[in-house]
């Protein structure tokens, strides 16, 4: 008898504990997601004209919108360019800082600075780096007699240039996760390996790296999500140019919704973004998760 009351009470308590958070989670994630999906079938309301149901018209337009395809391709390249690189660099940084290198105190600080500086402000500094002629990169190139190079104003390089900035921004943050993981590897494992004469590379490959696999999964899922979310520097450095060569999906959604006031079409673009994110992260999870088990 007492047990059942307790159980019922605990049932009520659980929901009481949960409700405030669930209202906000659903209110700002699920509700807008569903509404976005719903609105993607409507035209944009304007002035006194309300939105009208247009069926698949927005999706039809999407298929014909060559900017959308450019931006989608850019974003896939952006993910491909940022995710593996920033994860690898983060791991290398963690190994360096965790080792016994000279100046590792400075290194740790250096790697960590991008996490604390706002990207929107630092993008101006990168703008200087990339400026043709008197920019930092060109000043260094001119020491070797190389001509000036317009990194951001050339469609062949603009995307690569913003990818570099994203890697710079992210790697140091991911390093912290690796560092925490490395430090929790029991030291006697390494000692045992050393006793048996294993090289440090062998130890890393056969012992440390497999143990770091969960961290790698966590970090790379985050990196994928960030690659669809990190657009701050685009505002400052290229505004998506030249001719959308460095524009990303979220930036295009922002422009469509808040510059062109095409909220109906922006909803359609958002649906694509959400679907893409789901496919990528879930796929990655299964892919990496399987490997962890097989090792």
């Amino acid at each position: 008898m007492r047990n059942t009351i307790n159980l019922r009470l605990s049932w009520v308590n659980a929901w009481l504990l949960l409700t405030p958070a669930m209202i906000l989670v659903i209110g700002f994630t699920h509700f807008p997601a569903v509404k976005t999906f719903w609105n993607s079938f409507f035209s944009t309301p304007r002035g006194k004209r309300p939105a009208v149901f247009t069926g698949l018209e927005n999706y039809h337009y999407l298929l014909q919108d060559d900017i959308f395809w450019t931006v989608l391709k850019n974003n896939l390249l952006f993910s491909l360019g940022t995710v593996p690189t920033s994860v690898c660099i983060a791991l290398a940084m963690a190994l360096w800082v965790n080792g016994k290198l000279h100046g590792r105190g400075f290194m740790r600080m250096a790697f960590f600075t991008p996490t604390v500086l706002p990207l929107i402000a630092v993008a101006n500094i990168w703008l200087f780096y990339y400026t043709p002629g008197f920019g930092l990169i060109d000043q260094i190139r001119s020491l070797f007699g190389l001509p000036e190079q317009n990194w951001l104003g050339n469609p062949d390089y603009a995307l690569a240039a913003v990818i570099v900035v994203a890697i710079w921004k992210e790697a140091g943050f991911f390093m912290v996760f690796y560092l925490a993981a490395l430090q929790s590897i029991p030291p006697n494992l390494r000692e045992a390996a050393q006793l048996e004469g294993a090289s440090s590379w062998y130890f890393f490959r056969r012992v440390a790296f497999p143990l770091l696999m969960p961290t790698t999964l966590f970090v790379s899922v985050n990196a994928v999500i960030n690659s669809f979310r990190l657009v701050d520097h685009i505002f400052v450095m290229t505004e998506g140019g030249p001719n959308n060569a460095s524009s990303l999906l979220l930036f295009y959604i922002y422009e469509t919704a808040f510059k062109f006031w095409e909220t109906g079409y922006a909803a359609t673009l958002t649906v694509v973004l959400v679907v893409l994110l789901s496919i990528f992260s879930v796929g990655q999870f299964f892919l990496v998760d399987k490997r962890i088990h097989y090792r």
Partner: protein
């Protein structure tokens, strides 16, 4: 043996090169901030020093107000996240109830589809609530964080049930148990999560850009972007002075305590 030495010095050089590259934007910011505008792109060691850029930046835009807004914003989000996520995580970790799995799955969805992406609809919601251009509106979508709930749930699950039972025997209520048993044991998680949250919201730009439009609500990031986007072109000296002034406190705090941060990440099991 010699080969190993060769490899390790190469390793050291690589580490230093990456470190210098990573540090260089901050170094450049410092350089421009303390030298006259004419030395923005000239690295002449004899360049005169000046404090002028800080004064100009301070006078050119209401940075004190922006800074205050950011501090209010970050504090508000952090407190709300701690409270809401703790309650929800406790429910997920220690209660059996119908619908738990479904609710938890809904929470996990937020790890994937962050509010940053649903800017249009969230904006409409804020408009319907009459909250556009308020600091609350910047924070509200992030207050119930899927990541926070997930992390705290993991931590709470590692707390031995006996501790809770013992407290219960002593007559502690639900909140007392949380306060006396769970929260103290989850301190590293709070610290680690707090760091991620603060650095994220201190630097967040897109959503605040959309939902604010006055001096009284704008956080530092949006203030800096408006300040930079003028017809007269980029003025790195003043811009960087402004950046350093507004990010300085956070930067110093993080640099001083970075070792503790890594440890808290380690103990929190975020790795």
């Amino acid at each position: 043996m010699r080969q190993v030495d060769y490899g390790s010095s190469l390793n050291l050089i690589a580490a230093w090169l990456v470190a210098l590259l990573w540090f260089s934007p901050l170094a450049y910011a410092l350089w421009t901030a303390i030298h006259p505008v004419a030395y923005e792109v000239r690295f002449d060691l004899t360049a005169p020093l000046t404090f002028e850029n800080f004064i100009d930046a301070w006078a050119a835009a209401p940075f004190a107000r922006y800074f205050l807004n950011t501090v209010i914003l970050v504090t508000m989000i952090l407190v709300a996240q701690f409270v809401l996520c703790t309650l929800a995580a406790y429910a997920f970790a220690r209660f059996e109830f119908r619908g738990r799995e479904v609710m938890f799955a809904l929470v996990l969805v937020q790890l994937l589809v962050m509010p940053d992406i649903l800017i249009v609809e969230n904006y409409k919601t804020m408009r319907a609530l009459g909250l556009v251009d308020t600091i609350v509106a910047i924070g509200l979508p992030y207050m119930a964080s899927g990541f926070g709930i997930f992390l705290l749930r993991q931590t709470f699950k590692t707390v031995p049930k006996e501790l809770e039972d013992a407290a219960r025997v002593e007559g502690a209520g639900l909140f007392q148990i949380l306060w006396r048993v769970y929260i103290p044991l989850a301190k590293p998680t709070y610290l680690a999560y707090g760091l991620v949250s603060v650095s994220y919201h201190w630097n967040n730009f897109l959503w605040p850009l959309i939902v604010t439009n006055s001096v009284e609500t704008r956080p530092v990031t949006v203030g800096l972007s408006i300040f930079a986007a003028v017809d007269s072109g980029v003025q790195w000296s003043i811009m960087n002075a402004a950046t350093l002034m507004t990010s300085g406190p956070l930067l110093i705090a993080f640099l001083l305590f970075q070792r503790q941060f890594v440890q808290s990440f380690m103990r929190a099991g975020i790795r």
